[in-house]
């Protein structure tokens, strides 16, 4: 009897072995050749079921529920299956879901990932799918940078849903205390460094209570890191990759100058970087000890209530990003997310999926709903003209006092270059930053090393 049972156990283990070895390894089923003519779609008769991955925060969830309700009035036979993810950053989950064939039909992603997955054949090429109609019918409505941010070469991979960028913020109470009541914010990086050092040297009751310019070189949040470095490079006329995204261009004289300026500022103490303490930049802002920082409109309303000198006004003011190089504006990075269709979407649902993402991005009311709730800008050109961004509206908690300055900055913002190697590029650039500001390596060595490292990926 024991022998029989032992044999049975061996049999189960052997079966598991055989099953593991013999089971076919299959790729997820995709069809990237599906095409249709968007002009012939009849919303009233279109059918399909579309699963959508969406971020969990209430401020994003509610507008999406309203969007689905409105969409279903026009497309009554399409079912939208909204899946609330447990965290906003679900890129890793998506990779796994794609590999095991359970990826949703539609997903909202940062534009660099839309490009990255598009280049890998993992999200549908909307240009090919619609025979070029996506450009003909839709392109003109969008702010050019946001449209281009969902695109590689001649291929469109998603619809932009919103846009945003960062701006220079300063604590007016600290600045007036240190520099006097006639304080004016810096317009060049040199002025910023001087002011930052003065703030750090300032003494009150024998102590130095304030921080100067905080730069979130922040390893815990890779994408924030890339946000910073991409905008920084643009301010020197440099870029991370060439236009074709086939080569790293961080060893050019402009890029080396950008690295050198960052290192000099860090060495002199003009830049305080936050390293592995991601909460620091927020902590400093909230406890009223940081004088200068670059941040987005979405955070402004959280900090604008600070009133340290109790004069009834917010201490946090905003200004254009100081220029680092004469003749080049203080560029910041474009932030934009969009909706795209996974290539695992079944053929019978593809038209419905396309119509849904097109609706979310182009239906003015829906599009503006997303932008307002997220405290960012729309990606529709017409949305920038909306009175919401031009007329005071103190009663709306999402309304930002400085929309006009943010908008000027947005229009000169620079997108990050999405490629299928984006995750690795992110990691390698982060190391480069640390070697520069904390590792004591020369800007030339850092630039050459990181360029060689990234170029290895392209080969």
């Amino acid at each position: 009897m024991s022998k029989i049972l032992r044999k049975l156990t061996c049999l189960i283990l052997a079966a598991a072995c055989l099953a593991g070895g013999a089971a076919c390894v299959k790729l997820p089923e995709v069809n990237n050749d599906f095409t249709f003519d968007p002009d012939t779609v009849d919303p009233a008769t279109l059918t399909g079921t579309v699963s959508v991955w969406w971020a969990p925060m209430d401020f994003m969830w509610e507008p999406m529920e309203r969007a689905i309700e409105k969409f279903n009035k026009q497309y009554p036979n399409v079912t939208i299956d909204l899946i609330k993810k447990t965290r906003a950053d679900y890129y890793d989950d998506l990779n796994l879901a794609f590999a095991n064939g359970t990826a949703p039909d539609v997903v909202r992603l940062d534009h660099v990932y839309v490009q990255s997955l598009g280049e890998s054949g993992r999200v549908l090429d909307l240009t090919k799918m619609t025979g070029g109609k996506v450009e003909i019918n839709e392109e003109e409505q969008f702010i050019d940078q946001t449209w281009q941010a969902m695109r590689i070469g001649e291929h469109q991979y998603g619809f932009p849903l919103e846009s945003n960028t960062t701006l220079f913020m300063y604590n007016e109470t600290i600045c007036e205390e240190v520099f006097g009541p006639d304080y004016t914010p810096p317009t060049t990086f040199e002025e910023l460094c001087e002011q930052s050092l003065q703030v750090r040297a300032y003494e009150k009751d024998g102590e130095n209570p304030y921080h100067g310019f905080i730069m979130p070189i922040n390893a815990s949040n890779s994408q924030h890191d890339m946000y910073v470095i991409n905008g920084w490079m643009a301010r020197f006329g440099a870029s991370l990759l060439n236009d074709e995204r086939t080569e790293c261009t961080l060893n050019t004289p402009e890029a080396i100058e950008a690295f050198r300026t960052m290192q000099d500022a860090a060495d002199s103490g003009a830049i305080e970087y936050t390293g592995y303490a991601p909460y620091l930049e927020n902590q400093f802002i909230y406890d009223g000890t940081v004088a200068f920082i670059e941040m987005g409109s979405w955070i402004y309303n959280d900090v604008k209530g600070m009133d340290l000198n109790l004069d009834g006004e917010s201490d946090i003011k905003v200004a254009a990003i100081p220029s680092t190089t004469e003749g080049i504006p203080g560029y910041a990075t474009l932030g934009s997310s969009g909706l795209c269709i996974n290539s695992t979407c079944k053929d019978e649902n593809k038209i419905a999926a396309y119509e849904f993402i097109r609706f979310c991005a182009t239906d003015y009311e829906t599009h503006m709903d997303f932008a307002k709730e997220m405290k960012v800008f729309p990606s529709l050109e017409a949305g920038l003209e909306d009175p919401y961004y031009h007329e005071p509206n103190e009663s709306d908690p999402n309304w930002v006092e400085y929309w006009d300055i943010f908008m000027d900055q947005l229009l000169i913002s620079v997108p990050r270059p999405g490629t299928k190697f984006w995750p690795e590029i992110t990691t390698k650039l982060k190391y480069a930053e640390y070697k520069l500001v904390d590792g004591g390596q020369s800007p030339e060595k850092v630039a050459n090393d990181v360029t060689a490292d990234i170029n290895k990926l392209f080969r």
Binding site: M1, S2, L5, L8, T9, I12, L13, A15, A16, C17, A19, G20, G21, A23, V25, K26, L27, P28, V30, N32, Y91, D92, N95, L96, F98, A99, S120, G121, R122, A219, S220, S222, T274, G275, Y276, A277, L280, S343, K420, F421, P423, E424, T426, T427, K430, Y431, Y434, K435, D438, G439
Partner: protein
């Protein structure tokens, strides 16, 4: 032909049946999640299953190409080096402290259970809490515990978790001092298992505690030391949590398993990650076999 007497048969084999029925669930789980996964992973490691390319190029058999690549991959080799340093340091620290604490506990005549419970406490703290402690201690600003202590002597704040020379050491400090609890419990059980008669006999020859430890305790503790060292080796070689939670994507602290995780779930190069996993498996297996052979040769039980 005589029929089977079920009652008699059941009576004869009931204990076997009960055992195997109880084992059936774990055997099935083990088969599905380990044996099947193990073989399937090996098959994957021989393919080009990299989501960045495979949808465009199609699935191909590449043989042992990924295995050769693993030994050329700078990130993995860097991770392997850090993993080895981590394993050796933790092995020495955790087992050294564990043994010291267990011996001290044995010397106590009163309050042994109280101290045993107290010293086991760190094992109950989750990895997330330990990482937070590390972050508080090595916070790069003046508010960090270590930096604020050093500022008393006029030493400027240092970015411990980022600097090449200090990042890995900073990660190791807290686990080095707090990771001994489980080892201590095992040593304590081992020490309790050594018959008192040996000590009584030894006390007739010498009063030296060091000699008694060297000639009686240490050799008889051999199997326990073997177990603890083996556990430490395996724990050390698969370390990922501190690196991922405290210093994500940091070249200076990257571990082999974290590099594997990044390759699989961030870079979507699943085949290469599986190959890295199998290399780690072989390394751990070889170390275990070597240790096993060494232990058999030197330890005398009676």
């Amino acid at each position: 032909m005589k029929g089977i007497d079920i009652k008699k048969w059941y009576h004869k084999y009931r204990n076997d049946l009960k055992c195997y029925l109880l084992l059936l669930v774990p055997i099935c789980l083990f088969s599905v999640f380990f044996v099947y996964g193990f073989v399937r992973g090996f098959v994957f490691s021989l393919l080009n299953y990299d989501l960045r390319f495979v949808m465009l190029e199609g699935l191909q058999f590449v043989g042992f190409e990924h295995y050769a690549e693993v030994f050329r991959d700078k990130d993995f080799l860097n991770g392997l080096l850090h993993t080895t340093i981590w394993t050796v340091v933790m092995l020495i620290g955790n087992n050294g402290f564990g043994l010291l604490m267990a011996v001290c506990l044995m010397k106590l005549s009163r309050g042994r259970k109280f101290f045993l419970a107290g010293l086991y406490w760190p094992a109950l703290v989750s990895a997330a809490i330990t990482t937070q402690i590390t972050l508080y201690v090595f916070n790069p600003t003046e508010t960090g515990i270590l930096n604020s202590f050093l500022s008393v002597f006029g030493i400027p704040p240092k970015d411990w978790l980022v600097n090449e020379d200090t990042a890995l050491i900073s990660l190791m400090v807290i686990p080095f001092f707090t990771g001994f609890s489980q080892k201590m419990i095992i040593f304590y059980a081992g020490l309790n298992g050594i018959p008192k008669t040996y000590y009584e006999a030894a006390s007739l020859d010498t009063d030296s505690g060091v000699q008694i430890f060297g000639y009686i305790t240490w050799p008889l503790l051999g199997p326990v030391v073997f177990l603890n060292v083996l556990l430490s080796l395996i724990e050390g070689m698969k370390v990922i949590a501190p690196m991922q939670l405290i210093t994500p994507h940091n070249d200076f602290t990257m571990s082999a398993i974290y590099a594997m995780y990044i390759d699989a779930f961030e870079n979507t190069n699943f085949s290469f990650a599986f190959a890295e996993g199998f290399v780690m498996f072989v390394i751990i297996m070889v170390l275990t076999v070597i240790q096993n052979l060494t232990q058999k040769e030197t330890v005398v039980y009676e």
